[in-house]
């Protein structure tokens, strides 16, 4: 087993980051412009990192598969961003945000990382306001906050239901400013195919120009992956259609360890699945749970009549409704963390109380809030979400309760990184959702935006200098090195191989089948037999894919089928690793629920004695099993408890 060095600075929790910054090596301005950094991805993490590094004077190359950096999927985040400002005077603090995040993550995250995240959270809000992000404000002109799933304080800043959009456009504007200044070279419609290692260090990437099909090489002194999460391994998720794992998966196969791959967040408030042709799931912001009450019928017969369309939800009397979250968790009620809310919905539906055509839906009801606050208040708070719901479902949520069901939304797992956000490959960094670091086994609402921007604006620009300060004597790399040539050939060969299969089944049909296996056996509820089955089934499907996939068009043109095929080929490998990871984690924690390990009340049962570690998987070859490395989690400052939201 490899010794994993997480490089956590010594000292008291609250002093670690300050001490680190005080003692880390920096690069002087004259040397910065001689150092190249590649950033892959232009979401919150990627755009903020690229802009901040360029402002410091580094020469940055920034890549994205979309036609513009502004379209990265961070744009779709709705609810908000957390920060420990305590503007509401309700008892918030850096420590409390840290503590809530550690607890919400079910004690499977690193204390030092999470504390740093809480510590820099305030500077993010300052930064965004200075960039012109139009956050919601009170009548006095100061910033407004709301409380968000799982939090007892109001620490969430928001811009209507479009917070991700506004934060991303802020980072995009900072990036655009650096593009104009010539400090960032932007490569849109370019997809990363592989990372290039020279003498064991990350020195560049291979990309495909998605318009011409040309395979190109780019060199740099360091490579930063900010390519987001891998929820699309489930086919149906709230991720964008193009969101993929290729960059981090290729890094894994080149030697970067993969941390906690099975930790997936299933978001409780999504619009239920309605048909086989469905291409993606739509999230309804969790902020809806602040005013909506979740229920199913108390009687199975009522639920059945509703499913058959013989009864309307508004006809069910108050006493015949089961507000199951309020019943089970009186202290937090409808605001329990996402994993708890999702599992509770699944439990009710599995028990036969689900509603909608499929029985896989529960109600989110605003009638109480409308009676209490008035329709106009609810409209001001959630108008755009209600409109979105009505467009999709064709029902008016002001008049009849919304239907919701959990869907795959976020992956806490990702490339293993140390305190400096560097992977196990020297010079290769992973930031934002692409790394595993801060959310443990479950992420709190409004914390993804916080982490993406913390990594990009305030953490990486410091930590990467500790590495680059050592690289100032290394001249600019030539892409003529044999390592570049070889990696490029391997990437091109793989695409050629895909094209040459010339089978009968479409890429999407394979993706759907993989998604079905993942949802069934590696989804919300997992067990040993199911996971073992998934490993076998995925391997079989992968074999079939490489024998029978059908891709039309050519390599040297815009070819969405080829793009999808490359991504699905990687998902077919990653899915298996997720199942393996879930299988060795003989406990339930956060979003990872193993049916064998639960309390008599059906709550997650952790095994802190044996499993309080980060599972960091190491690639050993295409035909050998990956090796498990463990980074023990040391809780020095927080007392580890069973999560309790009752």
């Amino acid at each position: 087993m490899t010794e994993l060095n997480s490089k956590i600075p010594k000292g008291q929790l609250a002093e670690k980051w300050t001490n680190y910054k005080a003692h880390t090596n920096l690069v002087n301005p004259a040397n910065k412009r001689r150092l190249d950094v590649i950033v892959v991805g232009t979401g919150l993490a990627g755009a903020s990192a690229a802009a901040s590094l360029a402002e410091l004077g580094f020469k940055v190359k920034n890549f994205c598969y979309q036609d513009s950096p502004r379209r990265a999927h961070s744009i779709a985040a709705q609810g908000g961003i957390n920060a420990a400002k305590n503007y509401q005077n309700d008892g918030d603090s850096v420590y409390r945000l840290f503590y809530d995040t550690i607890k919400g993550g079910d004690y499977r995250a690193r204390e030092a990382n999470v504390y740093r995240l809480a510590e820099v959270s305030n500077a993010i809000i300052d930064q965004c306001v200075a960039q012109g992000v139009p956050f919601a404000r009170e009548y006095g002109g100061l910033l407004d906050n709301r409380s968000f799933g799982g939090a007892q304080v109001s620490r969430t800043f928001y811009a209507r239901g479009q917070t991700g959009q506004q934060l991303l456009l802020g980072a995009y504007s900072a990036l655009s400013r650096q593009v104009k200044k010539g400090n960032v070279e932007l490569y849109t419609r370019h997809e990363m195919l592989d990372v290039v290692l020279v003498e064991g260090r990350a020195r560049g990437i291979i990309v495909r120009d998605m318009v011409t099909g040309a395979i190109e090489r780019y060199a740099a002194h360091a490579v930063v992956l900010a390519t987001g999460g891998y929820g699309n391994v489930f086919f149906l998720s709230t991720n964008a259609m193009g969101s993929n794992a290729t960059a981090i998966w290729k890094a894994f196969k080149r030697g970067a360890f993969f941390g906690n791959p099975s930790f997936t967040q299933i978001h409780p408030t999504c619009i239920p699945v309605h048909g086989d042709f469905q291409s993606k799931l739509t999230l309804m912001s969790e902020s809806l749970r602040n005013d909506g009450r979740i229920w199913v019928p108390k009687n199975k017969e009522d639920a059945e009549k509703i499913r058959q369309g013989k009864l309307q939800p508004t006809q069910i009397k108050e006493e015949d409704r089961d507000y199951y979250l309020e019943r089970r968790y009186p202290a937090f009620g409808n605001l329990v963390p996402r994993d708890v809310a999702s599992r509770a919905a699944k439990e009710r539906c599995d028990a036969g109380y689900g509603v909608g055509d499929t029985g896989l839906a529960v109600y989110l009801d605003f009638s109480d809030a409308i009676n209490r606050l008035g329709k106009n208040v609810i409209e001001a708070r959630y108008g755009n979400l209600f409109q979105m719901y009505e467009k999709i479902v064709d029902e008016n949520p002001y008049e009849t309760p919304m239907m919701i069901y959990p869907a795959v939304h976020y992956t806490m797992g990702g490339l293993w990184v140390d305190y400096e956000l560097m992977t196990t490959i020297p010079g290769l960094y992973a930031i934002g959702e692409a790394n595993f670091s801060d959310h443990g086994a479950n992420r709190l609402g409004a914390s993804a935006l916080m982490q993406g921007l913390a990594d990009g604006y305030f953490v990486l620009p410091y930590t990467i200098q500790n590495y680059l300060s050592d690289q100032i004597r290394v001249p600019k790399f030539s892409t003529d090195l044999p390592e570049f040539k070889q990696t490029e050939e391997e990437a091109a060969d793989r695409l050629r191989k895909l094209m040459e299969v010339k089978g009968k089944q479409t890429v999407d049909s394979f993706h759907k089948r993989l998604g079905h296996i993942m949802w069934e056996y590696v989804g919300m509820g997992r067990n040993e037999a199911g996971l073992k089955k998934a490993i076998v089934e995925i391997a079989k499907l992968r074999e079939e894919f490489w024998k029978d996939v059908k891709i039309t068009g050519g390599m040297n043109e815009i070819n969405p089928e080829l793009e999808k095929a490359g991504r699905v080929a990687d998902f077919l490998e990653l899915g298996e690793l997720m199942a393996r990871d879930a299988l060795i984690r003989n406990e339930s924690c956060g979003g990872h629920f193993r049916e064998e390990y639960q309390t008599p009340e059906g709550e997650a049962l952790r095994d802190d004695q044996n499993l309080m570690y980060v599972a960091a998987w190491e690639f050993t070859g295409d035909n050998t099993e990956p090796r498990l490395n463990k980074e023990a989690l040391d809780y020095e400052f927080v007392e580890v408890k069973q999560r309790n939201y009752k």
Partner: protein, 258 residues
């Protein structure tokens, strides 16, 4: 539902395009427009034909990637939505639907329904930002902002950069897009210091890229999926005029120090 689709097919930026007719059958009224396109493409792939290329990503109306000109209207017949939010229940069984890419000189067609909208990025790069570096920023509540201004700023900031305004305009004008960004910043105290330079730089870049002028037909506002108001154009014109009259742009000063 059974439908006839007339779709613009064009192999690449240099080749000539043409309409090709397809039939799709058994489409559920609950499927989205893009899901209907997925079904068509799936059937084309099975037949070994090249599927129709189109831009799309988030499929929830916020990324701004999707860009179809449906029956003569950007994003189709409904108000205030993107193509990905359009549902088939909006059409009738037996309908013929004509699908084209955005048509505007600054947005050249790359393939089928995909156009190149890099011009929008270039306009933002010309000045669509507030010049602050990361870090060293005063507290977020140091400057109160009247709520009404923050809300108006947000209305403008809601733009998703899809380009429907340009596609809808007979002059291929980008005034709504540019004015939305100019307004977002002009309404905030943080945006004031550079307001004059910003509006001039962005307008100059817009002209340079070949977007046309505004002749107040209002098509942009009517077709905008985010209902960005045409009053932003009036605000931009005011900003532009006062910038022209009032301001002198200083040259960058050399740094001091001993």
């Amino acid at each position: 539902m059974d439908l006839t689709l007339k779709i613009w097919r064009q192999k690449n930026a240099t080749s000539k395009g043409k309409f090709v007719t397809y039939k799709v059958n058994g489409i559920s009224p609950n499927s989205s427009f893009l899901e209907m396109m997925d079904i068509l493409n799936e059937s084309l792939v099975v037949k070994g034909e090249d599927p129709v290329a189109f831009d799309h990503d988030c499929r929830e109306g916020i990324c701004g990637a999707c860009s179809m000109y449906i029956n003569g209207r950007p994003h189709g017949p409904d108000k205030a939505i993107t193509t990905c939010q359009l549902h088939m229940r909006r059409f009738k069984d037996g309908d013929t639907i004509v699908i084209e890419p955005w048509r505007a000189r600054p947005f050249p067609v790359l393939k089928d329904l995909i156009v190149d909208r890099t011009a929008f990025d270039k306009i933002i790069q010309a000045g669509g930002y507030i010049s602050v570096n990361t870090g060293g920023i005063p507290d977020a509540n140091a400057i109160p902002i009247p709520r009404a201004n923050a809300e108006l700023s947000m209305d403008a900031a809601a733009c998703i950069g899809c380009g429907a305004c340009v596609a809808a305009c007979k002059n291929a004008s980008a005034m709504l897009f540019v004015s939305a960004k100019v307004s977002q910043f002009a309404l905030l105290p943080q945006g004031k210091p550079e307001a004059a330079e910003r509006v001039q730089a962005m307008v100059a870049e817009m002209d340079r890229l070949g977007f046309g002028n505004c002749t107040n037909t209002g098509a942009c506002e009517a077709e905008c999926p985010k209902e960005i108001s045409i009053s932003n154009i009036a605000r931009m014109n005011r900003e532009f005029l006062s910038a022209k009259i009032g301001s002198q742009i200083p040259k960058e000063q050399a740094g001091g120090g001993a």
